[in-house]
């Protein structure tokens, strides 16, 4: 079985070129074992 999570999170828009950069940082890597309650990522303040 598999779970797919899709969610909105903040991104910043550069005032110079209008490019976006993610304010949400994943704290896991591909292939990592995770358990319920462990952080997948964080929104930066």
């Amino acid at each position: 079985s598999t779970v797919v999570l899709v969610f909105q999170a903040p991104v910043s828009l550069s005032p110079e070129n209008g490019e976006s950069s993610s304010d949400f940082k994943f704290s896991v890597q591909r292939g990592d074992r995770v358990r319920v309650g462990e952080a997948l990522g964080r929104c930066q303040d």
């Binding site: 999570l5 899709v6 969610f7 999170a9 591909r30 292939g31 990592d32 074992r33 990522g41 964080r42």
Partner: protein
């Protein structure tokens, strides 16, 4: 060959010990059964060795950073011909059979050794799980899964292995299943999803076109009003400062199979797609096209403090049914009553006033069940 010769010699020795005429016919019959058993065992052993070798190659490739590309094969074509839903339900019936109390700890212990489960975490003593199915969806002891208290963090909803994650960008809104093949997020969540996107009309791929019937239009507008009215979230005003992200987590047979809320979450809609039940292991992801889009799944959609959040629980052959804590009457992996399978999912709106079902981070949402 040497094994067969040894068996033949043993047969001859036994025949000479028995002595007398007429024993030769009996000896021939005696030889047939062990011969077939040995051949079966050898075949199973060879298949297991091949599987282990392939798994080892996958692990080595991951360590080296090389990635397997999408490559359909004969096995994946053959899987399409099998009645996997019926097989799944049969498996469910088999695993629901009550196991004698004296055998329970041995059976569950063997399962735990085979699939690397931690039995010490089980909430109940092993003797109290009447069947393998009950054992499989076991709850855990209090405190076994501490929830990260940081309000800015999103936690894992399940125990498992992270397969993919990233940001969904571009007009296609595609999620990569494996290198060389992607699927549309709308195909996964449903064409009526309230996924905030740049131009929703441009994002539908061919597979979701069928769902985009003219009759949907009126319902969509009603949904839009329903979602917008609580003034919690307006996807279009939020668009410039919000991105869309995804994370795919695979649960192995030995993992804890309950799903928890990844954040404080208001669930507004539930969608049930009655699809196929292909296996979802690593090999299947790179050989079966649209694996997650074709498999039976339950999608929960709602809001968290940063906006939209959806969770798709995708079933597999061995774990075909999904049970929701907030809607225990929902039945999945049922025998189809119609000959023609409808692609349209069954939807339920929780609380039409838009309030939904409120869950705290870490609250139990659903469970995967055998069969």
């Amino acid at each position: 060959t040497s094994l067969l010769k040894k068996l033949q010699k043993t047969t001859q020795v036994r025949a000479s010990l028995n002595g007398g005429s007429g024993s030769s016919k009996g000896n021939g019959d005696w030889f047939l059964l062990p011969g077939a058993t040995v051949a079966t065992l050898l075949m199973l052993g060879a298949l297991h060795a091949r599987r282990m070798y392939e798994d080892m190659k996958v692990v080595e490739a991951h360590e080296k950073g090389t990635e397997f590309e999408f490559q359909p094969d004969v096995k994946s074509t053959f899987l399409r011909l099998l009645p996997l839903r019926s097989i799944s339900r049969c498996w469910g019936v088999l695993t629901s059979v009550e196991i004698p109390v004296s055998l329970r700890s041995h059976v569950y212990g063997a399962w735990a050794r085979a699939f690397h489960s931690n039995l010490e975490e089980a909430a109940l003593p092993l003797d109290e799980y009447a069947s393998l199915r009950d054992f499989f969806v076991r709850t855990l002891k209090e405190g076994s899964r501490p929830i990260d208290p940081n309000p800015q963090c999103l936690v894992s909803p399940v125990d498992g292995t992270v397969l993919r994650f990233g940001e969904i960008k571009g007009a296609g809104a595609m999620i990569e299943q494996v290198k060389g093949f992607s699927y549309s997020v709308f195909s996964l969540l449903g064409a009526t999803s309230f996924l905030p996107t740049l131009a929703k009309g441009d994002m539908h791929d061919e597979s979701s076109e069928a769902e985009n019937a003219s009759g949907e239009k009126s319902r969509k507008s009603w949904w839009s009003i329903s979602f917008a009215s609580p003034k919690v979230w307006n996807p279009y005003s939020a668009r410039p400062t919000k991105g869309l992200f995804y994370c795919v987590i695979y649960l192995k047979p030995g993992d804890y199979h309950r799903i928890h809320a990844p954040a404080d979450w208001n669930i507004l809609v539930r969608r049930h797609f009655s699809g196929r039940l292909y296996p979802v292991n690593e090999r299947a992801t790179r050989t079966i096209r649209n694996l997650y889009v074709e498999n039976e799944r339950v999608v929960l959609e709602g809001l968290w403090h940063e906006g939209f959040m959806a969770l798709a629980a995708v079933g597999a052959t061995n774990i075909g049914s999904i049970e929701l804590s907030m809607e225990p009457e929902l039945r999945t992996n049922q025998a189809k009553k119609k000959l023609l399978h409808s692609e349209r999912p069954e939807e339920r709106l929780y609380e039409p006033d838009g309030v939904g079902r409120t869950l705290k981070k870490g609250d139990e949402v659903a469970a995967f069940n055998m069969g």
